[in-house]
């Protein structure tokens, strides 16, 4: 994070104390956590590595932390790193052969889609431990008036989690910045426009792609774990599977995957849209909100593929020129 961002971060940090209801704090935590995950995805997406495998990484992060806590009493402080390591191992297992043998574009998307489905079916198949499609709740330690537990990473007050989510989000942006200013960015951009040509001038294609995939998977797994800790409930459909992968991809596209705060704008936009439609229309008409959401997604990809923030920047640049 740049030094000039500190004031805005400070303003964000005060927000939960001035907003009128804990519902808004809840929305803000959601936005921050999803923004973090979306930012993690866009690290790959902006270089043309479109992965549908992030549902798998998120699912691994979320389920490992919950299962370790429930089955072995392992604190999330150890469970989260374990989940990240497992997700990274998965990413390497899939990524290395893909990059080594030049699987890209449609094929890469479909291979990673298969990974997501493997993880989701595994979660369902291991229903004796994972609760299957019904999902699972981490053992709650907040009984008898205890309002917080650091070892269990459970807090009755949403504000505590707000700060955790804010830190995660700022960390995600920091990683984005670091990569944006690194040599890796130039290498990835070269690979994105012509893989063979960049290899011929000395770019190690496999290693560069693998590094970015590992970082992206690790962030997503961390996001998944934090999401599980915040929600105190995981379900194969909400943290793993093709639905989550598509949700991630679309939100990033809506916001703009080539600009730093694009994924964040995407998270704000999609959440406001779904919540707004839900509150506006209510639950009387089933699924009208997701129908409108789906329609907007299609419109976005056809008419505004650079996303809201990307388009805005293009406009501003055009006005200045």
């Amino acid at each position: 994070m740049d030094r000039r961002w500190w004031p805005s971060l400070a303003v964000l940090a005060v927000l939960p104390w001035i907003v009128p209801s804990s519902y808004i704090v809840h929305l803000m935590v959601q936005v921050l956590l999803w923004s973090f995950i979306y930012t993690g995805w866009s690290l790959m997406g902006r270089f043309g590595l479109v992965s549908f495998g992030h549902g798998a990484f998120m699912g691994i992060g979320a389920y490992v932390v919950v299962l370790m806590w429930n089955l072995y009493g392992l604190s999330p402080w150890l469970g989260i790193p374990l989940g990240i390591v497992l997700a990274v191992a998965c990413a390497v297992l899939i990524g290395y052969p893909c990059f080594r043998f030049g699987i890209a574009g449609h094929y890469f998307a479909l291979v990673t889609l298969a990974l997501t489905e493997v993880v989701r079916s595994l979660i369902v198949a291991l229903r004796d431990f994972t609760g299957g499609s019904l999902g699972i709740t981490p053992t709650n330690v907040l009984t008898d008036g205890t309002t917080w537990s650091i070892t269990a990473l459970q807090f009755a007050d949403k504000k505590v989690f707000f700060y955790i989510a804010l830190a995660a989000w700022a960390f995600g942006i920091w990683v984005w910045n670091r990569i944006d200013r690194s040599m890796m960015r130039y290498a990835m951009e070269a690979i994105g426009s012509d893989e063979q040509a960049s290899a011929s001038v000395g770019v190690n294609v496999t290693r560069t792609k693998l590094t970015i995939t590992i970082i992206s998977a690790a962030l997503t797994a961390l996001g998944g774990a934090l999401f599980a800790q915040y929600q105190q409930y995981v379900n194969p459909e909400t943290v793993a599977g093709i639905g989550v992968s598509l949700q991630i991809v679309f939100a990033v596209i809506a916001g703009g995957m080539f600009v730093r705060f694009g994924p964040t704008v995407g998270a704000v936009f999609t959440l406001l849209l779904t919540e707004g439609l839900r509150v506006g229309i209510g639950n009387k008409i089933n699924a009208l909100d997701s129908t409108i959401y789906g329609l907007m997604l299609v419109m976005f990809i056809i008419y505004m593929p650079s996303g809201i923030l990307g388009k805005l920047f293009e406009k501003m640049r055009g006005a200045r020129a």
Partner: protein
């Protein structure tokens, strides 16, 4: 449980029948990819709409089953054309990945729209078909009929592609889309026809599946990923490869599900897919 018994044989036969239907589904997707170079991620959702079409025409409006089947095929075929004109065409010259994503958006849209229109209830035709009993093996007729129809449809498509002028034009476009316009073939027209055929195949798949499965808005998710895997495993656009891959997949799911649990069959099939992608990234019969 014995290692090999009569139930295993029944499982394998059921797997073969399932493979036939899967092969038909993969065929439509492969045809579209081969000709238009686009993956319809929402292919199984078109099928879901076809299944609803059969359900409503037959069960609610009381039309004869075969009329409902014919109508469903036409409806899904028209949907295929609409999908091409409204969604694919605007992005046809854009980033290739946008074409993948836009049909993914249609997936979300169709699934939500179906929930909106039909609710989340599981519906079935309520037709109980007898089973073919051979000794201790019993195979449901609905599955046999489905596999047979799939085979017939695939043969018809093969003859159409090989023997007619239009079929030759379709194959030619898939081989060289830059030269064919010079030879007097209008690619835009061929794309429309291909979308109609692809949609029609999805509609036919819907008719075969609605006999065996309940229809609900999320049914596409049970068949969609499977169909892509089959196509990619066979080599995207390679119809014979897709045919073989369909039977391999169906056996893995069927036998894996027999020894362990149905989900484990899927885990095995997807795992096998990932391993095969590294062994033969171009697909079983694909060429580099």
């Amino acid at each position: 449980m014995q290692f090999f018994d009569i139930f295993l044989l029944e499982t394998i036969l059921n797997g073969l029948l399932f493979g036939g239907v899967l092969a038909l589904l993969a065929l439509g997707l492969n045809l579209i990819f081969g000709v238009i170079d686009v993956v319809w991620i929402c292919y199984a959702e078109l099928m879901m709409l076809g299944m609803y079409c059969v359900f409503f025409l037959h069960k609610v409006h009381g039309l004869p089953l075969f009329v409902a089947f014919g109508a469903a095929i036409v409806v899904v075929s028209v949907l295929g054309v609409l999908l091409h004109v409204l969604v694919i065409k605007p992005v046809l010259n854009g980033e290739p990945i946008n074409q993948l994503l836009v049909t993914g958006g249609v997936l979300t849209l169709l699934q939500a729209a179906a929930t909106l229109a039909f609710g989340i209830d599981f519906r079935n035709l309520g037709i109980a078909m007898p089973s073919l009993v051979l000794g201790e093996i019993s195979l449901p007729w609905s599955r046999i009929a489905a596999a047979m129809t799939a085979l017939v449809a695939m043969t018809c498509l093969y003859v159409f592609l090989k023997k007619t002028y239009l079929g030759t034009a379709i194959r030619a476009i898939s081989q060289d889309r830059a030269i064919m316009p010079l030879m007097g073939v209008n690619p835009a027209k061929i794309y429309l026809i291909t979308s109609a055929i692809g949609g029609g195949l999805a509609g036919l798949g819907a008719c075969l599946l609605v006999l065996q499965y309940d229809v609900h808005p999320a049914i596409g998710l049970s068949f969609g990923p499977l169909t892509f895997m089959v196509c990619v495993l066979g080599g995207l656009g390679n119809m014979l490869g897709g045919f073989i891959a369909a039977f391999i997949f169906a056996q893995l799911i069927s036998v894996g599900g027999f020894y362990f649990h149905l989900e484990w069959g899927y885990v095995m099939a997807f795992g096998f897919f990932i391993i095969m992608m590294f062994a033969r990234p171009q697909g079983l019969l694909g060429s580099k």
